[in-house]
Symmetry: C2
Subunit: 219 residues, 2 copies
Amino acid sequence: MPDFPTPIATVDVVLLTLLRERLHVVLLRRGDPPFAGMLALPGGYVRVDEDASLEEAARRVLRGKAGLAPRHLEQLGSFGGDTRDPRGWSISVSYYVPLSAGELEGASPSLEAVPADALPPLPFDHAAIVAAALRRLRGKSTYSSLPAFLLPPLFTLAELHRVYEQVIGTRLDPASFRRKVEEQQIIERAEGQRREGAHRPAQLYRLAPGMAPEFDRRI
Amino acid sequence: MPDFPTPIATVDVVLLTLLRERLHVVLLRRGDPPFAGMLALPGGYVRVDEDASLEEAARRVLRGKAGLAPRHLEQLGSFGGDTRDPRGWSISVSYYVPLSAGELEGASPSLEAVPADALPPLPFDHAAIVAAALRRLRGKSTYSSLPAFLLPPLFTLAELHRVYEQVIGTRLDPASFRRKVEEQQIIERAEGQRREGAHRPAQLYRLAPGMAPEFDRRI
DNA sequence: ATAATAGTGTCTCTCAGACACTATCGA
DNA sequence: TCGATAGTGTCTGAGAGACACTATTAT
């Protein structure tokens, strides 16, 4: 065992969701110092006695502080240094999670969703972590099913199309989008249709179970 | 400050290089327990007193244990849990580095290069870390200049072409390859040509300075 | 001249975007 | 019937692979 001081080890999670057609980051108001009272990423110490792995530490923190058991949790990267935390040298192993609006409603009511393009000042280097998560989500969206996790388990192709457009930030041709998303076989037809309004009802789809979230080609 | 036990924090680096047209992983024989005498990834503790950040910790370890100051160092991910290290709960923040054969020759002579497809048994979860690094290198090679760091600073288009083929593992049409690599403007003509053998000499190129290593399109 | 590798021009075929078309509902 | 959104068929143009071609050297 090392006989010199070791860094503080924490996990932090960037929760991303889509509200009113805009990407939001879901934050939690800190109760304890440092930065008590500020909105921040949900996070906590790695607990040697409770956690079997880093991912399990992140899941425990999400369960405890946010009341969430996410469908998709992905490691973003680690941020560490001597200046990011006033308590001393610290490492944040960061994760990000795409959430549907429904998942967020069932979660802890103390969570606060903030538009991704209008974030308040954040403590530590959480602004940099959020920026990295948004970059990653946007980047991977062109070749993965990640944006589908911003929707509920059943969704229509038009809904999926809109989500991709919002996350990537560009227009996508509806016909090409359908073609590619069906070829990639990452979604599958579900039973039932969504009927709302005076128009043709839309077929429901779900994510194909057990599929890798990466596509062969770009969307 | 937390009043409970914290994990051990280490950095490990996967050094990748190309020798005799084959991808190799460069390892170091461990002098200290645990696993003394085994080949392992170069790594070491994060030193709160010496390192200003995780990346600097990785650079310090590389400088000290391998005699290297790499041109490209990229975070791979973090691996942590209660079973990966017999000393206790530990976190490895892992990096990977593509090296040219020349850089390796100037490095510490105690380094040992092992073919990537014939690795010896490795301690800790180093086999999983190496596998992740190889997956990442292969994956990013289709849309980044990463493989160019496996070559010396000056190289010919034919050399670059061969490196991409070896790393990705498929044949690439020479004409298409030239077209795309020149369009992406990630390499630039250097002065001079390489003349070797009884044939037309090849123009030298270098990586364009200050360019992001990612391409717009796939190679 | 020849052999060897460097590098280019061009054909074709695939696939993406564009967009007009059909489908199906409520009012 | 009309308006709205869902979903399809088809044209076209850009770009990728294929491959024949030229370029330049040492022997």
